[in-house]
């Protein structure tokens, strides 16, 4: 009898804890249901319809997805996006690591350097983009004036479709301060004794980097890869401002900076093809999921978590 009572006492306490817990979680539960779950479901539904906001959605099955496969503009926007991830994000990641390694040589004036490298990341995306449009101005821009001064060719950065993506990548390097600071923090966590032990074994600088530093900071690289790739596939503001503000149509010269998220935005809010844009959004979602999954799966081979901490 007593045991039964005790049991129900635990049960009711458990229920009370559940209730209190859910009360604390309620803002998130509300947010999740209204701002995530409902929109996810609706967006999947819209992706099978034709919907322009004025008339109710019309079920058209897989037509939107079929249309995507025939849409050259969609493919070029996907190409541009992948291009930015490969030739923008990856080199920027390496660059941030190199700077962090230099800063980690226990240099004097570390906090000053750190501030300088971090400052550009504080500039709002639109302000930074407009500044770079001015810097890259073919005639009067600082960049070309400098290039000209040392006898290098002066590309027409913003109007030549071969140079628009490099323009954005160049600007991207300016904004790598956040990654640098994160890498620096990770580097500072690597136990000194590893290096000392390796020195005794006669390892040279390169060995130490390859066999100690890189594995030790691999969790950070893992984090940066996931966040960076998710971010790359949603690349929007800078590309939009670059195209919009150098008096071009959206997409820039030859649609060379029409990125996936921009084309999706254009379909949704300019052409009011909400169904088509939703299908694009779902394909984006699937790409991001697959990429994340791929990185997670591969991580057991190259990400090493230290014993302690």
């Amino acid at each position: 009898m007593d045991r039964l009572k005790l049991h129900s006492g635990i049960k009711s306490r458990e229920r009370k804890r559940l209730f209190i817990g859910l009360m604390f979680l309620s803002p998130w539960i509300f947010g999740f249901l209204v701002f995530q779950l409902y929109p996810i479901i609706m967006s999947l539904y819209y992706s099978f319809t034709e919907y322009n906001m004025f008339n109710p959605p019309q079920w058209i099955g897989l037509d939107n997805y079929n249309e995507m496969f025939r849409d050259d503009k969609m493919f070029s926007s996907l190409y541009n996006t992948v291009f930015m991830a490969l030739f923008g994000f990856f080199p920027q990641l390496v660059y941030a690591l190199v700077i962090a390694l230099l800063l980690n040589q226990s240099v004097k004036g570390l906090s000053l350097y750190r501030t300088v490298y971090f400052l550009p990341t504080l500039v709002p995306a639109v302000a930074g983009s407009l500044l770079w449009i001015w810097l890259l101005n073919a005639q009067y821009g600082l960049v070309n004036q400098m290039l000209g001064a040392i006898g290098l060719p002066e590309p027409n950065w913003l109007m030549d479709e071969n140079w628009t993506k490099p323009s954005l990548i160049l600007m991207g390097f300016w904004g790598t301060g956040t990654i640098t600071i994160m890498y620096l923090a990770a580097l500072q966590e690597v136990p000194k004794m590893y290096y000392e032990a390796a020195s005794i074994d006669g390892a040279n600088k390169w060995h130490k980097f390859w066999h100690i530093t890189l594995p030790a900071i691999s969790p950070m690289t893992f984090f940066q890869l996931i966040m960076g790739l998710i971010g790359s596939f949603q690349y929007f503001s800078q590309g939009y401002v670059f195209a919009d503000s150098s008096s071009q149509a959206i997409g820039g010269p030859g649609n060379s900076i029409l990125f996936y998220a921009i084309y999706l935005f254009q379909n949704a809010f300019m052409y009011l093809k909400m169904g088509y844009a939703s299908a694009m959004a779902w394909i984006l979602f699937i790409i991001v999921l697959l990429l994340t999954l791929l990185i997670f799966k591969s991580s057991s081979k190259w990400v090493f978590y230290g014993g302690e901490k």
């Binding site: 209190i20 604390f24 803002p27 967006s43 504080l122 709002p124 301060g177 923090a185 503001s237 008096s247």
Partner: protein, 277 residues
């Protein structure tokens, strides 16, 4: 110290300084442009310093477009976003960190996985909802998205990390004395969490201040524009008012930089916490 170590140190500094200059040059160019006359802005070869320092670009920046109005709109959205975030996120974080109930871990994993959700997926249905609720061209879509959107998962995660670091013993005696969870939360835990709240408040402020895509979607009426979308008014069909535009971009950026110098340490800490698992 032998010569080769000294040499390497010097080389390291040389590279760091060169890179530093490359990071700073755009800022210098921005600032110097804002003090030049139109003629000196368009001069070849480049002239770094204005021959006469003028303030006209700043006056024009504020007068050519409704700059004050846009600034006000931006401030209101940013402050409302911050207010909601610092009230709601720690509540949720407390539930995830300090109350042990069935299903908590499952919910936590669900929350973390929403971090992967691209905003493009939710953007269209949310637009439809806000449209039906007659809230387009108001602050609410942006503010509510800051409170309850993907950012919430990020903020909760950060605060939860912080709460997890607070020793259990600290709240044990209060619990034995029969204090309610909410009392423990509001009187013991929350006051300790000020640094973490400052961090998420800062990030939220930065995000709202510079937000472009959200503003582009929800604010069509010029009355409601923020600085991010208002700046394009300096760009005309055939010409760009570079002087005033750069001055406006400077005014848009300076508050953030001032803020940064006030809370630099919190900032760097917050960023490093984010990256550490």
């Amino acid at each position: 110290m032998n010569a080769s170590i000294l040499g390497r140190r010097l080389l390291t500094h040389l590279i760091l300084i060169l890179v530093g200059l490359m990071f700073l040059a755009p800022f210098a160019w921005l600032l110097l442009t804002t003090f030049k006359t139109e003629d000196e802005i368009f001069v070849i070869p480049v002239q770094w310093f204005p021959s006469e320092w003028i303030w006209d670009n700043y006056r024009n920046a504020v007068q050519m477009i409704p700059f004050i109005k846009y600034t006000w709109n931006t401030i209101v959205i940013a402050l409302l976003s911050v207010a909601g975030v610092v009230i709601l996120s720690p509540l949720v974080a407390y539930g995830f960190s300090r109350i042990d109930f069935k299903g908590r871990n499952v919910l936590f994993i669900i929350m973390l996985s929403t971090l992967m959700l691209p905003m493009q997926v939710t953007m269209i249905p949310l637009y439809v909802v806000f449209n039906k609720a007659n809230l387009l061209n108001s602050n609410w879509p942006l503010v509510l998205s800051a409170w309850f959107g993907t950012g919430m998962a990020f903020n909760v995660f950060l605060i939860r990390q912080f709460f997890n670091g607070i020793p259990i013993e600290l709240t044990e005696s209060a619990k034995i004395d029969g204090a309610s969870e909410f009392r423990i939360y509001s009187q013991i835990i929350l006051p300790l969490a000020k640094p973490a709240l400052l961090t998420i408040g800062l990030f939220t402020f930065l995000g709202a201040w510079g937000d472009f895509q959200g503003a582009l979607i929800y604010l069509n009426d010029q009355e409601t524009w923020t600085l991010s979308i208002g700046l394009k008014q300096f760009i005309r069909e055939n010409s760009v008012a570079w002087g005033p535009l750069m001055a406006a971009a400077t005014l848009f950026t300076v508050p953030i930089i001032i803020l940064y110098f006030f809370v630099q340490k919190k900032f760097i800490e917050g960023i490093t916490i984010t990256g550490m698992k």
